[in-house]
Subunit: 193 residues, 2 copies
DNA sequence: TTCGCTCTAGAGCGAACGTTCTAGCATCGT
DNA sequence: ACGATGCTAGAACGTTCGCTCTAGAGCGAA
Protein backbone atom coordinates (compact mmCIF):
# COMPACT_ATOMS: atom_id res chain seq x y z
CA UNK A 1 0.00 0.00 0.00
CA UNK A 2 1.48 3.32 -1.09
CA UNK A 3 2.13 6.23 1.18
CA UNK A 4 -0.55 8.42 -0.35
CA UNK A 5 -3.14 5.71 0.07
CA UNK A 6 -2.11 5.08 3.67
CA UNK A 7 -2.58 8.77 4.42
CA UNK A 8 -6.01 9.09 2.81
CA UNK A 9 -7.41 5.94 4.38
CA UNK A 10 -6.11 6.99 7.79
CA UNK A 11 -7.66 10.42 7.27
CA UNK A 12 -11.01 8.92 6.32
CA UNK A 13 -10.96 6.69 9.38
CA UNK A 14 -10.04 9.53 11.72
CA UNK A 15 -12.63 11.84 10.21
CA UNK A 16 -15.47 9.43 10.60
CA UNK A 17 -14.46 8.84 14.19
CA UNK A 18 -13.86 12.41 15.34
CA UNK A 19 -14.54 14.74 12.45
CA UNK A 20 -12.31 17.12 10.53
CA UNK A 21 -11.48 19.85 13.02
CA UNK A 22 -10.41 17.49 15.81
CA UNK A 23 -8.06 15.54 13.55
CA UNK A 24 -4.52 16.92 13.60
CA UNK A 25 -1.74 16.44 11.09
CA UNK A 26 0.55 14.90 13.69
CA UNK A 27 -2.17 12.46 14.68
CA UNK A 28 -2.83 11.65 11.04
CA UNK A 29 0.85 11.06 10.31
CA UNK A 30 1.14 8.79 13.34
CA UNK A 31 -1.95 6.80 12.31
CA UNK A 32 -0.69 6.45 8.75
CA UNK A 33 2.80 5.51 9.91
CA UNK A 34 4.53 8.28 7.98
CA UNK A 35 6.53 11.27 9.16
CA UNK A 36 4.86 14.60 9.56
CA UNK A 37 6.54 16.17 6.56
CA UNK A 38 5.55 13.44 4.13
CA UNK A 39 1.95 14.50 4.40
CA UNK A 40 2.85 17.93 3.02
CA UNK A 41 5.09 16.46 0.38
CA UNK A 42 2.24 14.43 -1.11
CA UNK A 43 -0.55 16.89 -0.37
CA UNK A 44 0.57 20.37 -1.27
CA UNK A 45 -2.71 21.83 -0.04
CA UNK A 46 -2.22 20.58 3.51
CA UNK A 47 -4.95 19.25 5.74
CA UNK A 48 -7.80 20.40 3.52
CA UNK A 49 -6.24 18.67 0.55
CA UNK A 50 -5.91 15.38 2.43
CA UNK A 51 -9.50 15.61 3.63
CA UNK A 52 -10.81 16.28 0.13
CA UNK A 53 -9.02 13.26 -1.33
CA UNK A 54 -10.09 11.09 1.59
CA UNK A 55 -13.72 12.14 1.16
CA UNK A 56 -13.69 11.42 -2.56
CA UNK A 57 -12.11 8.00 -2.12
CA UNK A 58 -14.22 6.77 0.75
CA UNK A 59 -17.27 8.35 -0.87
CA UNK A 60 -16.74 6.25 -3.97
CA UNK A 61 -16.47 3.14 -1.81
CA UNK A 62 -19.67 3.95 0.07
CA UNK A 63 -21.47 4.60 -3.20
CA UNK A 64 -21.03 1.00 -4.22
CA UNK A 65 -22.18 -0.27 -0.85
CA UNK A 66 -25.94 0.07 -1.28
CA UNK A 67 -26.15 -1.53 -4.75
CA UNK A 68 -23.97 -4.33 -3.43
CA UNK A 69 -26.22 -4.88 -0.45
CA UNK A 70 -29.39 -4.78 -2.60
CA UNK A 71 -28.04 -7.00 -5.36
CA UNK A 72 -28.92 -10.38 -3.84
CA UNK A 73 -32.56 -9.47 -3.24
CA UNK A 74 -35.11 -9.80 -6.01
CA UNK A 75 -37.55 -7.68 -4.07
CA UNK A 76 -36.36 -4.13 -3.59
CA UNK A 77 -38.40 -3.54 -0.44
CA UNK A 78 -37.06 -6.51 1.50
CA UNK A 79 -33.60 -5.67 0.18
CA UNK A 80 -33.75 -2.19 1.66
CA UNK A 81 -34.94 -3.48 4.99
CA UNK A 82 -32.16 -6.05 5.02
CA UNK A 83 -29.55 -3.46 4.06
CA UNK A 84 -30.50 -1.23 7.00
CA UNK A 85 -30.42 -4.22 9.34
CA UNK A 86 -27.00 -5.16 8.02
CA UNK A 87 -25.78 -1.60 8.57
CA UNK A 88 -27.01 -1.83 12.15
CA UNK A 89 -25.13 -5.07 12.70
CA UNK A 90 -21.92 -3.62 11.29
CA UNK A 91 -22.27 -0.56 13.44
CA UNK A 92 -22.85 -2.49 16.64
CA UNK A 93 -19.84 -4.68 15.90
CA UNK A 94 -17.61 -1.68 15.33
CA UNK A 95 -18.53 -0.18 18.67
CA UNK A 96 -20.95 2.32 17.11
CA UNK A 97 -18.45 4.22 15.03
CA UNK A 98 -18.81 2.74 11.55
CA UNK A 99 -20.45 5.88 10.28
CA UNK A 100 -19.99 7.47 6.93
CA UNK A 101 -17.20 10.10 7.00
CA UNK A 102 -18.88 12.17 4.32
CA UNK A 103 -21.93 12.78 6.48
CA UNK A 104 -19.87 13.44 9.60
CA UNK A 105 -17.68 15.99 7.89
CA UNK A 106 -20.46 17.62 5.88
CA UNK A 107 -22.50 18.21 9.01
CA UNK A 108 -19.48 19.64 10.77
CA UNK A 109 -17.85 21.96 8.26
CA UNK A 110 -20.46 22.89 5.66
CA UNK A 111 -20.44 26.56 6.54
CA UNK A 112 -16.79 26.94 7.41
CA UNK A 113 -14.89 25.00 4.75
CA UNK A 114 -16.63 25.74 1.46
CA UNK A 115 -14.20 23.66 -0.56
CA UNK A 116 -14.83 20.54 1.53
CA UNK A 117 -18.57 21.10 1.44
CA UNK A 118 -18.36 21.21 -2.35
CA UNK A 119 -16.45 17.94 -2.35
CA UNK A 120 -19.08 16.37 -0.12
CA UNK A 121 -21.80 17.66 -2.43
CA UNK A 122 -19.97 16.14 -5.40
CA UNK A 123 -19.77 12.79 -3.66
CA UNK A 124 -23.41 12.84 -2.63
CA UNK A 125 -24.52 13.83 -6.12
CA UNK A 126 -22.64 10.81 -7.40
CA UNK A 127 -24.49 8.62 -4.92
CA UNK A 128 -27.86 9.99 -5.99
CA UNK A 129 -27.18 9.58 -9.69
CA UNK A 130 -25.65 6.15 -9.32
CA UNK A 131 -28.41 5.00 -7.02
CA UNK A 132 -31.14 6.34 -9.28
CA UNK A 133 -29.63 4.52 -12.25
CA UNK A 134 -29.55 1.31 -10.24
CA UNK A 135 -33.19 1.68 -9.23
CA UNK A 136 -34.29 2.45 -12.77
CA UNK A 137 -32.63 -0.81 -13.67
CA UNK A 138 -34.91 -2.41 -11.12
CA UNK A 139 -37.98 -1.07 -12.88
CA UNK A 140 -38.68 2.17 -11.03
CA UNK A 141 -39.76 5.27 -12.93
CA UNK A 142 -37.35 8.20 -13.23
CA UNK A 143 -39.01 10.36 -10.57
CA UNK A 144 -39.62 7.48 -8.18
CA UNK A 145 -36.02 6.32 -8.51
CA UNK A 146 -34.67 9.70 -7.54
CA UNK A 147 -37.12 10.07 -4.71
CA UNK A 148 -36.27 6.64 -3.29
CA UNK A 149 -32.56 7.33 -3.42
CA UNK A 150 -32.92 10.62 -1.60
CA UNK A 151 -35.23 9.17 1.03
CA UNK A 152 -33.03 6.12 1.60
CA UNK A 153 -29.87 8.18 1.74
CA UNK A 154 -31.34 10.65 4.21
CA UNK A 155 -32.79 7.94 6.41
CA UNK A 156 -29.58 5.93 6.37
CA UNK A 157 -27.29 8.83 7.26
CA UNK A 158 -29.67 10.09 9.91
CA UNK A 159 -30.18 6.66 11.40
CA UNK A 160 -26.39 6.33 11.61
CA UNK A 161 -26.17 9.50 13.65
CA UNK A 162 -28.99 8.63 16.01
CA UNK A 163 -27.84 5.03 16.40
CA UNK A 164 -24.35 6.26 17.16
CA UNK A 165 -25.63 8.58 19.84
CA UNK A 166 -28.03 6.10 21.41
CA UNK A 167 -25.78 3.09 20.85
CA UNK A 168 -28.81 1.23 19.60
CA UNK A 169 -29.85 -0.52 16.41
CA UNK A 170 -33.41 0.65 16.82
CA UNK A 171 -33.13 3.75 14.57
CA UNK A 172 -31.61 1.74 11.73
CA UNK A 173 -34.13 -1.06 12.06
CA UNK A 174 -37.08 1.33 12.26
CA UNK A 175 -35.91 3.41 9.30
CA UNK A 176 -35.29 0.27 7.24
CA UNK A 177 -38.74 -1.14 7.93
CA UNK A 178 -40.39 2.19 7.20
CA UNK A 179 -38.66 2.71 3.88
CA UNK A 180 -39.06 -0.92 2.88
CA UNK A 181 -42.80 -0.75 3.49
CA UNK A 182 -43.02 2.48 1.51
CA UNK A 183 -40.98 1.23 -1.44
CA UNK A 184 -43.18 -1.87 -1.57
CA UNK A 185 -46.11 0.38 -2.52
CA UNK A 186 -44.36 1.94 -5.53
CA UNK A 187 -45.18 0.72 -9.03
CA UNK A 188 -42.48 -1.41 -10.64
CA UNK A 189 -42.35 -1.69 -14.41
CA UNK A 190 -40.29 -3.88 -16.70
CA UNK A 191 -36.64 -3.58 -15.69
CA UNK A 192 -34.79 -1.22 -17.96
CA UNK A 193 -31.70 -2.54 -19.78
CA UNK B 1 -31.12 37.94 28.87
CA UNK B 2 -28.69 36.66 31.49
CA UNK B 3 -25.04 35.96 30.91
CA UNK B 4 -25.37 32.21 31.28
CA UNK B 5 -28.15 32.09 28.75
CA UNK B 6 -26.22 34.25 26.31
CA UNK B 7 -23.31 31.85 26.53
CA UNK B 8 -25.35 28.68 26.02
CA UNK B 9 -27.34 30.05 23.10
CA UNK B 10 -24.18 31.32 21.44
CA UNK B 11 -22.58 27.92 21.98
CA UNK B 12 -25.55 26.10 20.46
CA UNK B 13 -25.48 28.40 17.44
CA UNK B 14 -21.74 27.99 16.93
CA UNK B 15 -21.91 24.23 17.36
CA UNK B 16 -24.61 23.75 14.81
CA UNK B 17 -22.66 25.89 12.37
CA UNK B 18 -19.18 24.46 12.82
CA UNK B 19 -19.32 21.68 15.37
CA UNK B 20 -17.75 21.30 18.81
CA UNK B 21 -14.03 20.95 18.08
CA UNK B 22 -13.80 23.98 15.82
CA UNK B 23 -15.53 26.25 18.31
CA UNK B 24 -13.07 28.01 20.62
CA UNK B 25 -13.67 29.64 23.98
CA UNK B 26 -12.45 33.00 22.73
CA UNK B 27 -14.79 32.80 19.75
CA UNK B 28 -17.65 31.77 22.02
CA UNK B 29 -17.01 34.64 24.43
CA UNK B 30 -16.89 37.12 21.56
CA UNK B 31 -20.15 35.78 20.11
CA UNK B 32 -21.86 35.92 23.50
CA UNK B 33 -20.50 39.37 24.25
CA UNK B 34 -18.82 38.38 27.50
CA UNK B 35 -15.17 38.33 28.52
CA UNK B 36 -13.19 35.16 28.25
CA UNK B 37 -13.03 34.57 31.99
CA UNK B 38 -16.77 34.88 32.54
CA UNK B 39 -17.31 31.66 30.66
CA UNK B 40 -15.20 29.79 33.22
CA UNK B 41 -16.82 31.60 36.09
CA UNK B 42 -20.26 30.33 35.13
CA UNK B 43 -19.20 26.98 33.74
CA UNK B 44 -16.69 25.42 36.05
CA UNK B 45 -16.30 22.43 33.74
CA UNK B 46 -15.04 24.57 30.86
CA UNK B 47 -15.87 24.03 27.22
CA UNK B 48 -17.39 20.59 27.72
CA UNK B 49 -19.66 21.96 30.41
CA UNK B 50 -20.90 24.76 28.16
CA UNK B 51 -21.51 22.33 25.33
CA UNK B 52 -23.46 19.96 27.55
CA UNK B 53 -25.76 22.70 28.80
CA UNK B 54 -26.19 24.09 25.30
CA UNK B 55 -27.10 20.66 23.95
CA UNK B 56 -29.66 20.05 26.69
CA UNK B 57 -31.29 23.43 26.23
CA UNK B 58 -31.47 23.47 22.46
CA UNK B 59 -32.42 19.78 22.54
CA UNK B 60 -35.45 20.57 24.64
CA UNK B 61 -36.43 23.29 22.19
CA UNK B 62 -36.10 20.98 19.21
CA UNK B 63 -38.14 18.32 21.00
CA UNK B 64 -41.16 20.56 20.99
CA UNK B 65 -40.72 21.45 17.36
CA UNK B 66 -42.19 18.35 15.76
CA UNK B 67 -45.36 18.18 17.89
CA UNK B 68 -45.83 21.89 17.24
CA UNK B 69 -45.51 21.42 13.51
CA UNK B 70 -47.85 18.41 13.49
CA UNK B 71 -50.48 19.95 15.77
CA UNK B 72 -52.49 21.84 13.11
CA UNK B 73 -52.93 18.75 10.92
CA UNK B 74 -55.72 16.29 11.59
CA UNK B 75 -54.09 13.75 9.35
CA UNK B 76 -50.72 12.59 10.66
CA UNK B 77 -49.37 11.63 7.24
CA UNK B 78 -49.96 15.00 5.59
CA UNK B 79 -48.69 16.66 8.77
CA UNK B 80 -45.38 14.83 8.52
CA UNK B 81 -44.98 15.71 4.87
CA UNK B 82 -45.74 19.34 5.64
CA UNK B 83 -43.31 19.40 8.56
CA UNK B 84 -40.46 18.17 6.37
CA UNK B 85 -41.33 20.73 3.72
CA UNK B 86 -41.38 23.45 6.35
CA UNK B 87 -37.98 22.34 7.60
CA UNK B 88 -36.69 22.59 4.06
CA UNK B 89 -38.01 26.11 3.71
CA UNK B 90 -36.43 27.19 7.00
CA UNK B 91 -33.15 25.67 6.00
CA UNK B 92 -33.04 27.34 2.61
CA UNK B 93 -33.85 30.70 4.19
CA UNK B 94 -31.06 30.33 6.73
CA UNK B 95 -28.48 29.69 4.03
CA UNK B 96 -28.46 25.93 4.66
CA UNK B 97 -27.20 26.02 8.20
CA UNK B 98 -30.34 25.67 10.33
CA UNK B 99 -29.40 22.16 11.32
CA UNK B 100 -29.88 20.56 14.67
CA UNK B 101 -26.79 21.02 16.89
CA UNK B 102 -27.42 17.73 18.67
CA UNK B 103 -27.00 15.74 15.48
CA UNK B 104 -23.98 17.73 14.35
CA UNK B 105 -22.17 17.28 17.62
CA UNK B 106 -23.18 13.66 18.14
CA UNK B 107 -21.85 12.70 14.73
CA UNK B 108 -18.64 14.56 15.40
CA UNK B 109 -17.66 13.60 18.94
CA UNK B 110 -19.45 10.38 19.83
CA UNK B 111 -16.25 8.38 20.22
CA UNK B 112 -14.03 11.09 21.62
CA UNK B 113 -16.16 12.92 24.20
CA UNK B 114 -18.11 10.24 26.05
CA UNK B 115 -19.79 12.72 28.36
CA UNK B 116 -21.18 14.77 25.49
CA UNK B 117 -22.30 11.66 23.67
CA UNK B 118 -24.21 10.67 26.79
CA UNK B 119 -25.85 14.08 26.89
CA UNK B 120 -26.83 13.73 23.25
CA UNK B 121 -28.25 10.29 23.97
CA UNK B 122 -30.25 11.71 26.85
CA UNK B 123 -31.68 14.41 24.64
CA UNK B 124 -32.54 11.99 21.85
CA UNK B 125 -34.15 9.58 24.28
CA UNK B 126 -36.33 12.44 25.45
CA UNK B 127 -37.32 13.12 21.85
CA UNK B 128 -38.23 9.51 21.25
CA UNK B 129 -40.29 9.19 24.41
CA UNK B 130 -42.02 12.52 23.99
CA UNK B 131 -42.69 11.87 20.32
CA UNK B 132 -44.04 8.38 21.00
CA UNK B 133 -46.40 9.75 23.64
CA UNK B 134 -47.62 12.36 21.18
CA UNK B 135 -48.24 9.74 18.50
CA UNK B 136 -50.06 7.44 20.91
CA UNK B 137 -52.29 10.41 21.59
CA UNK B 138 -53.00 10.44 17.87
CA UNK B 139 -54.19 6.86 17.98
CA UNK B 140 -51.08 4.90 17.05
CA UNK B 141 -50.26 1.66 18.84
CA UNK B 142 -47.30 1.53 21.23
CA UNK B 143 -44.95 -0.26 18.86
CA UNK B 144 -45.98 1.75 15.82
CA UNK B 145 -45.57 5.03 17.71
CA UNK B 146 -42.02 4.20 18.67
CA UNK B 147 -41.19 3.00 15.20
CA UNK B 148 -42.60 6.12 13.58
CA UNK B 149 -40.66 8.42 15.90
CA UNK B 150 -37.41 6.65 15.21
CA UNK B 151 -37.96 6.59 11.47
CA UNK B 152 -39.01 10.24 11.34
CA UNK B 153 -36.14 11.35 13.55
CA UNK B 154 -33.57 9.45 11.52
CA UNK B 155 -34.95 10.70 8.22
CA UNK B 156 -35.15 14.28 9.43
CA UNK B 157 -31.62 14.43 10.81
CA UNK B 158 -30.20 12.67 7.79
CA UNK B 159 -32.11 14.84 5.35
CA UNK B 160 -30.73 17.89 7.16
CA UNK B 161 -27.18 16.69 6.60
CA UNK B 162 -27.66 15.82 2.94
CA UNK B 163 -29.63 18.99 2.24
CA UNK B 164 -26.93 21.02 3.89
CA UNK B 165 -24.26 19.43 1.76
CA UNK B 166 -26.19 19.63 -1.49
CA UNK B 167 -27.82 22.96 -0.69
CA UNK B 168 -31.08 21.51 -1.91
CA UNK B 169 -34.52 20.90 -0.46
CA UNK B 170 -34.86 17.69 -2.41
CA UNK B 171 -33.70 15.36 0.41
CA UNK B 172 -36.12 16.90 2.88
CA UNK B 173 -39.01 16.85 0.45
CA UNK B 174 -38.33 13.27 -0.63
CA UNK B 175 -37.94 12.01 2.93
CA UNK B 176 -41.12 13.79 4.00
CA UNK B 177 -43.17 12.31 1.15
CA UNK B 178 -41.78 8.85 1.78
CA UNK B 179 -42.52 8.86 5.50
CA UNK B 180 -45.89 10.50 5.03
CA UNK B 181 -46.92 7.82 2.55
CA UNK B 182 -45.74 5.11 4.90
CA UNK B 183 -47.44 6.52 7.99
CA UNK B 184 -50.68 6.76 6.00
CA UNK B 185 -50.71 2.97 5.80
CA UNK B 186 -50.51 2.44 9.56
CA UNK B 187 -53.67 1.56 11.50
CA UNK B 188 -55.01 4.40 13.62
CA UNK B 189 -57.23 3.56 16.59
CA UNK B 190 -59.26 5.72 18.90
CA UNK B 191 -57.00 8.50 20.21
CA UNK B 192 -55.73 7.71 23.68
CA UNK B 193 -56.41 10.26 26.45
C1' DT C 1 -18.35 53.91 55.06
C1' DT C 2 -16.73 49.43 54.92
C1' DC C 3 -16.92 44.64 54.49
C1' DG C 4 -18.14 40.61 51.68
C1' DC C 5 -19.47 38.65 47.64
C1' DT C 6 -20.45 38.10 42.70
C1' DC C 7 -19.11 38.80 38.44
C1' DT C 8 -16.36 41.26 34.84
C1' DA C 9 -12.17 41.92 32.42
C1' DG C 10 -8.30 40.42 30.22
C1' DA C 11 -3.33 39.15 30.70
C1' DG C 12 -0.72 35.05 30.81
C1' DC C 13 0.22 29.86 31.06
C1' DG C 14 1.92 25.51 28.80
C1' DA C 15 0.45 22.62 25.16
C1' DA C 16 -0.96 21.62 20.64
C1' DC C 17 -2.12 23.39 16.24
C1' DG C 18 -1.03 23.72 10.84
C1' DT C 19 2.69 24.67 8.32
C1' DT C 20 7.53 25.37 6.72
C1' DC C 21 12.21 24.29 6.56
C1' DT C 22 16.50 21.83 6.30
C1' DA C 23 19.09 17.59 6.27
C1' DG C 24 19.73 12.95 4.90
C1' DC C 25 18.70 8.64 2.50
C1' DA C 26 17.61 5.82 -1.57
C1' DT C 27 17.24 5.04 -6.39
C1' DC C 28 17.67 6.39 -10.68
C1' DG C 29 19.89 7.42 -15.77
C1' DT C 30 24.23 8.37 -17.59
C1' DA D 1 31.16 7.01 -10.08
C1' DC D 2 27.95 10.64 -10.03
C1' DG D 3 24.81 14.49 -9.59
C1' DA D 4 19.60 14.72 -9.89
C1' DT D 5 15.47 13.58 -7.99
C1' DG D 6 11.79 11.79 -4.82
C1' DC D 7 10.85 10.98 -0.58
C1' DT D 8 11.65 10.44 4.46
C1' DA D 9 12.49 12.36 8.87
C1' DG D 10 11.73 15.50 12.31
C1' DA D 11 13.11 20.05 14.27
C1' DA D 12 11.30 24.53 14.49
C1' DC D 13 8.11 28.53 13.49
C1' DG D 14 4.36 31.54 14.80
C1' DT D 15 -0.37 31.11 16.12
C1' DT D 16 -4.12 29.61 18.57
C1' DC D 17 -5.92 26.44 21.87
C1' DG D 18 -8.30 25.53 26.63
C1' DC D 19 -7.64 27.10 30.88
C1' DT D 20 -5.96 29.74 35.17
C1' DC D 21 -4.97 33.66 37.49
C1' DT D 22 -5.18 38.31 39.41
C1' DA D 23 -7.21 42.86 39.64
C1' DG D 24 -11.05 45.55 40.15
C1' DA D 25 -15.99 47.10 39.31
C1' DG D 26 -20.59 46.83 41.20
C1' DC D 27 -23.69 46.33 44.91
C1' DG D 28 -26.46 44.91 48.94
C1' DA D 29 -25.87 44.30 54.15
C1' DA D 30 -24.28 45.98 58.42
Amino acid sequence: MGTVERITTAMAELMRRQGYAATGIAELARAAGVPNGSVYHHFRGGKRDVAARALRESGAAYGQLLPTLLEPYDDLATGIEAAFAEAGRTMAESGWMAMCPVATVTAEIADVEPELRAVGADVMTGWVEGGAAFLRGRGLGDDDAREVVHAVLAALEGAFVVARGLRSREPLDAAGRALGAWVATLPVGVPAP
